[in-house]
């Protein structure tokens, strides 16, 4: 590399002629004044405490070089934040600096609304019609204590991406000025007060939230303490009945539930298939596709409170005669009238289908009109009835099971959609199916909720996730270990909060309230598992990681049950407790044939539960945590990292993320250089080719694309024994083939997973690297073509010579 290219950018910019004098900024008063570089440097420098590797001068000079003459001081502030954020990929500490600059910017904005204390923010929110009366009274009664509880230094916990997300999307805004009327800390305390029953409990919760140790799901963060407290994340709606009026009723149901945020799962098993006779009009049905096309438009139209688009996943049983058309709904070619780009799709797969795939046998497809009871049967009863219908010759068609399975796999590879979820496993392991006639008909938008539905009773779940990254401690010898005591405390507090949401929640549909009060399910999940492995230095697919992951899930389940049992003793068990499997003494791991690690402790808990019951029929569900992991600054749920260097796209814009654990390791080795950064970019965030990095670290810092998926599935199965709902398990394949996918999902089924989620793959061609100064890498000609040994043309093939 040329010597002059390695000179620091700061020097580069300060030596540019003229920029210090020519530029002017417009003050709030409207007056123009010359840009004062040293003033800007000082303002930035004040925020650099403890950040040894950031350079305030560099941020300041870069900011000014992007400025235009006559820009406002506000533009200047925003630009300095963006300028710092743009340096994150080079030095992760700039993320902290950008967050601090943004925090100062927010503070100023809130002050401009005359808010100086938490209670003032609540009072203003109430005057503006935003805040719930209950919350206002709660705060007014303890204003002094609450105002003092605000810990502004907690803003330092944020990474830029997290604070930016909070600022753009979560803080309450003045309806007219659109300026925020609360600081991030006031926001956390508002949520805590809204979800607590007493001031001490509010303090405990605030401590949990503001330390980013635990976060409730987005709907709770969006709406807690507001006039419309729709706090639940997930809604599961059974299939419309096979009637026009009921199909339209469901559109309304979906729209009403979407309005205040929350994702929808909707089954479609009961609606007749294409070619079925419509008796009343003597017409022939066009099947489910036109109905789903309408649903697609409806979902796009209903915006979740202006905050994000509605989202819905449609479930279809694999015997439905429209299954093939269903699998093509997300294709990007073909007739647009049969395409639904806004809907997510999931297969609700009976075991019998998987066994027919295994045996390479035929599979019969039916019109629900002629087999009305199949959606309400599972296990042996389903199988007996299915065979009976086959024998009776009711099948619309019979196809080779593997042919349909291959189509499912193709849909997954081409669209990432068409999730494989297993009907029988979901039913036989569900605590709510203890009584006959109770059936799980579908999972939810993210395949982690498994709850029964009955007619118009909509299953509901509210969620929260523990940030495992904040549950580690450093021993005197410098070793990092997992803090199980802290985990236990967090779980117990979180369960109480989640349980409280059930009573506070605003229900847009009466059927949702009925079901939720009857079953009182909650979904406590986790995030930042990858962070824990990085902190301790474990390879994701190693035995130590798998053991730790299992133990964490076991602890969460244990303490969640204990907390729910304590709640039952205080307030009574949930009304349908007698119908549950737990009431018969069966816990989740019993269904998996797994023995927990400390049986005596579990026996005591079982006895407690036998005596008092549970307040909640379901407790654990691992959600994808897309947005809240962003706020907490950790890796999502149970996922391995996707890349050591990646871009996150959200409504707030794009953010560059670099694996800060890796950067720390590389710095220690003296390897965090521009050459390394370029190499990381060229290798799409992989460190496997990085010279000088010890093999052990290469194992730790593999990406999802480099890990064996079998290990991910095994880990999920081990964890599964302690999850009474399910987990949003993404699987990854660089360039998927039908053979590979069919084996992979078959294994997932064999291991007893209830559900799987997206299949992630990578684009076949890439964008040229615009900023890497390496011609060889930037525009190299089709690397794949170069290594593919071309038997067709041996004389020009250099790969083998």
């Amino acid at each position: 590399m040329d010597r002059d290219m390695t000179t620091s950018a700061a020097a580069d910019e300060t030596t540019r002629p003229g920029f210090q004098t020519s530029m002017r900024v417009k003050k709030r008063s409207g007056a123009l004044e010359p840009v004062d570089v040293s003033k800007i440097v000082r303002a930035i420098d004040r925020r650099c405490a403890g950040l040894g590797d950031v350079d305030a001068v560099r941020v300041a000079t870069r900011t000014i070089s992007g400025l235009y003459d006559g820009a406002t001081t506000q533009e200047l502030d925003l630009l300095s934040i963006q300028t710092a954020a743009a340096l994150i990929a080079e030095e992760p500490q700039y993320s902290r600096l950008a967050a601090r600059l943004l925090a100062a910017y927010i503070d100023e904005e809130v002050r401009s609304e005359e808010v100086r204390a938490f209670s003032q923010s609540i009072a203003l929110g109430r005057r503006l019609g935003l805040i719930h009366e209950r919350l206002h009274e709660f705060v007014a009664a303890a204003a002094g204590r609450l105002d003092e509880a605000i810990a502004p230094e907690r803003d330092l916990e944020f990474e830029y991406f997290g604070l930016r997300t909070v600022y753009d999307r979560y803080l309450l805004r003045h309806p007219q000025t659109r300026r925020v009327i609360e600081t991030p800390q006031q926001f956390f305390l508002r949520i805590a007060c809204a979800l607590a029953e007493s001031v001490p409990e509010a303090f405990e919760l605030y401590e949990l939230l503001s330390s980013l140790s635990y976060l409730p799901s987005s709907p709770t963060l969006f709406n807690a303490g507001t006039r419309h407290e729709q706090l639940a994340s997930c809604f599961l709606i059974d299939s419309p009945r096979d009637q026009l009026s009921h199909i339209y009723q469901r559109y309304t149901d979906v729209a009403m539930l979407s309005k205040f945020s929350g994702g929808i799962g909707l089954a479609y098993h009961r609606v007749r298939s294409r070619g079925s006779l419509i008796t009343v009009t003597n017409g022939i049905s066009c099947g489910i596709v036109p109905w789903l096309k309408t649903l697609d438009a409806s979902v796009a139209a209903v915006n979740q409170g202006g905050k994000r688009k509605g989202a819905c996943c449609v479930y279809l049983e694999s015997w439905h005669a429209d299954i093939e058309a269903f699998l093509e709904l997300r294709d990007n070619t073909g007739d647009e009238a049969s395409r639904t780009h806004n809907l997510n799709l999931a297969n609700w797969v009976p075991d019998l289908f998987m066994r027919r795939v295994e045996a390479d046998a035929g599979w019969s497809l039916f019109d629900p009109k002629t087999v009305r009871d199949l959606p309400d049967l599972y296990g042996e009863a389903f199988e007996a009835r299915y065979l009976e219908y086959e024998r009776a010759g009711l099948a619309v068609r019979t196809v080779p099971a593997r042919e349909l399975y291959a189509r499912m796999m193709r849909t997954l590879a081409q669209t990432g959609n068409g999730w494989m979820t297993f009907k029988d496993r979901c039913n036989t392991t569900c605590n709510q199916t203890g009584a006959p006639g109770r059936v799980v008909h579908l999972s939810n938008l993210c395949t982690e909720i498994v709850e029964v539905t009955a007619g118009d009773e909509v299953a509901v779940c509210n969620l929260g996730s523990i940030n495992l990254a904040r549950h580690t401690k450093t021993c005197p010898d410098g070793q990092v270990e997992f803090d199980f005591d802290k985990l236990a405390r967090t779980v117990r507090l979180a369960v109480r909060q989640l349980d409280r949401v059930i009573d506070l929640n605003y229900y847009a549909l009466p059927g949702a309230r009925t079901s939720n009060e009857k079953w009182r399910p909650v979904g406590l999940g986790l995030m930042g598992l990858q962070d824990v492995f990085f902190q301790i230095g474990l390879a994701f697919d190693g035995e130590a990681a798998r053991g730790l992951s299992r133990r964490i899930s076991e602890e969460i389940y244990f303490h969640a049950l204990a907390a729910s049992c304590a709640l039952a003793r205080e307030r009574g068990r949930h009304p349908s407790y007698a119908e549950t499997r737990v009431a018969r003494g069966e816990l989740q791991f019993d269904a998996w044939g797994v023995t927990p690690s400390e049986p005596a402790r579990w026996d005591r808990l079982r006895a407690e539960i036998g005596a008092h019951g549970l307040r909640n029929s379901l407790l654990v569900a691992i959600a994808p945590t897309a947005t809240i992991a962003a706020i907490a600054g950790c890796y999502e749920c149970i996922e391995p990292q996707v890349s050591n260097l990646f871009k996150r796209e959200t409504l707030s814009g794009d953010f560059l993320q670099v694996n800060r654990y890796l950067v720390a390791a590389l710095k220690q080795l003296g390897l965090w250089t521009e050459a390394t950064r370029d190499q990381l970019k060229l290798a799409e965030g992989s460190v496997q080719g990085l010279a000088g990095l010890p093999e052990a670290l290469k194992l730790v810092y593999r990406t999802a694309w480099e890990l064996p998926m079998r290990a991910l599935i095994d880990m999920a199965a081990e964890r599964g024994a302690f999850i009474d709902q399910s987990q949003s398990l993404n699987l990854f394949s660089e360039s998927p083939s039908i053979g590979q996918l069919s084996s992979m999902y078959f294994y997932a089924w064999k291991r007893g997973l209830k559900t799987t989620y997206y299949l992630r793959s990578r684009p076949a061609t890439r964008i040229a690297k615009a900023t890497v100064d390496s011609a060889a890498g930037a525009e190299q000609s089709a690397p794949r073509a170069a290594v593919a040994c071309s038997l067709e043309n041996p004389q020009s093939c250099e790969a083998c010579q």
């Binding site: 630009l79 994000r308 796209e649 067709e792």
Partner: protein, 340 residues
């Protein structure tokens, strides 16, 4: 002239039809990779763009977008014309022509995308028409169009590449469209889109442009692969005179694009200065020169930090974006014991 014998060199005139044995499998692999990345305009979600334009952007930023769309609306069409009038005619390998056919489709798709964008952003039919007239009416765009047309005209009327001079002219045309039109004009235009996207603005424009960028990157790679093939087969074409012609061509392209930048950000856009854009173009130009095996001329670093964003993997929050990374054209059969 036989259609079944492979010509000795890629630029030897003719219409070779023989795919077996295959002389240039790299082109065929590029064709296959391109097929896997099929996308359609219908997948792009414009739902928030109009709101951003009306409510979240300044007058200066709206001007930038308007100019940009006006450029895109005609830019891809010019490239498509050159494909048909020059590249397809003279690159005599059926597998390369397969790639070019695919590229032609992609250029049409890009035109369709920017047309849809224009119809969405600009409600007034007269204004829509004016956007297409930009290549004649708006000086900063006209200058870029004239530059392209000059290099297109340079190969007009050349039916065959028999003479060295003809081949040389073709190589310059090829390099012009790869290094300057795709490698600088488009790279420049994408930079504005990425700038807006880094501010969370215009998701529809950004999503579609991301896919366009992916396609254009592949087109550029293909063109450079053709260049290096020709260099291997006819190294004598690549003499000092050619290098100096290419350098002059690139310098002129940078000037054209800088003038465009002055028009685009002239109203004052915080975070984008003409000087930074010019430096970014120089940085890109050095990469193009290096790829062509020619010495770098500018020796500058990339000054636009938001361009780093497009160099790394996206992880979309599916609630908010459609993931753009899925593959079309998956093959194979069901087996239950494959490695995974």
């Amino acid at each position: 002239m036989s259609h079944v014998h492979r010509p000795a060199r890629l630029l030897d005139p003719g219409l070779c039809l023989t795919l077996r044995p295959m002389a240039y499998p790299a082109f065929f692999e590029m064709y296959r990779a391109a097929i896997k990345n099929t996308w359609t305009v219908e997948e792009v979600d414009f739902s928030t763009d109009v709101g951003d334009l009306r409510g979240r952007m300044s007058e200066a930023e709206r001007h930038l977008v308007q100019r940009l769309v006006a450029f895109f609306a005609t830019g891809d069409a010019i490239v498509a014309n050159n494909l048909v009038l020059s590249l397809y005619r003279h690159i005599n390998a059926p597998e390369a022509r397969m790639y070019l056919s695919r590229q032609l489709y992609e250029e049409a798709l890009h035109v369709q995308f920017y047309l849809t964008l224009l119809d969405t952003y600009v409600p007034d039919p007269d204004e829509r028409h004016r956007a297409f007239a930009a290549i004649e009416n708006i000086p900063s765009i006209r200058r870029k169009a004239e530059f392209c047309m000059r290099w297109l005209d340079a190969v007009q009327g050349m039916e065959r590449l028999d003479e060295r001079e003809q081949r040389r002219r073709f190589v310059l045309n090829l390099i012009c469209f790869a290094a300057c039109v795709e490698g600088l004009f488009f790279f420049g235009a994408f930079a504005y889109v990425y700038f807006l996207r880094s501010r969370g603005l215009l998701h529809g424009l950004a999503a579609g442009t991301n896919w366009v960028f992916r396609d254009e990157s592949a087109h550029m790679r293909f063109a450079f692969e053709v260049v290096s093939t020709i260099r291997r087969e006819e190294p004598e074409l690549f003499d000092a005179a050619l290098t100096s012609d290419v350098q002059a061509m690139i310098a002129e392209a940078i000037d054209c694009e800088t003038q465009f930048a002055e028009d685009l950000v002239g109203g004052g856009v915080a975070g984008l200065s003409v000087r930074d854009i010019r430096q970014y173009l120089e940085f890109c130009a050095d990469q193009r020169l290096a790829t062509l095996g020619m010495p770098r001329r500018y020796g500058v670093k990339n000054p636009l930090p938001f361009m780093e964003l497009q160099d790394v993997q996206e992880v979309a929050n599916f609630f908010e974006r459609r993931v753009s990374a899925y593959q079309v054209g998956v093959t194979g059969q069901v087996v239950l014991d494959a490695a995974f």
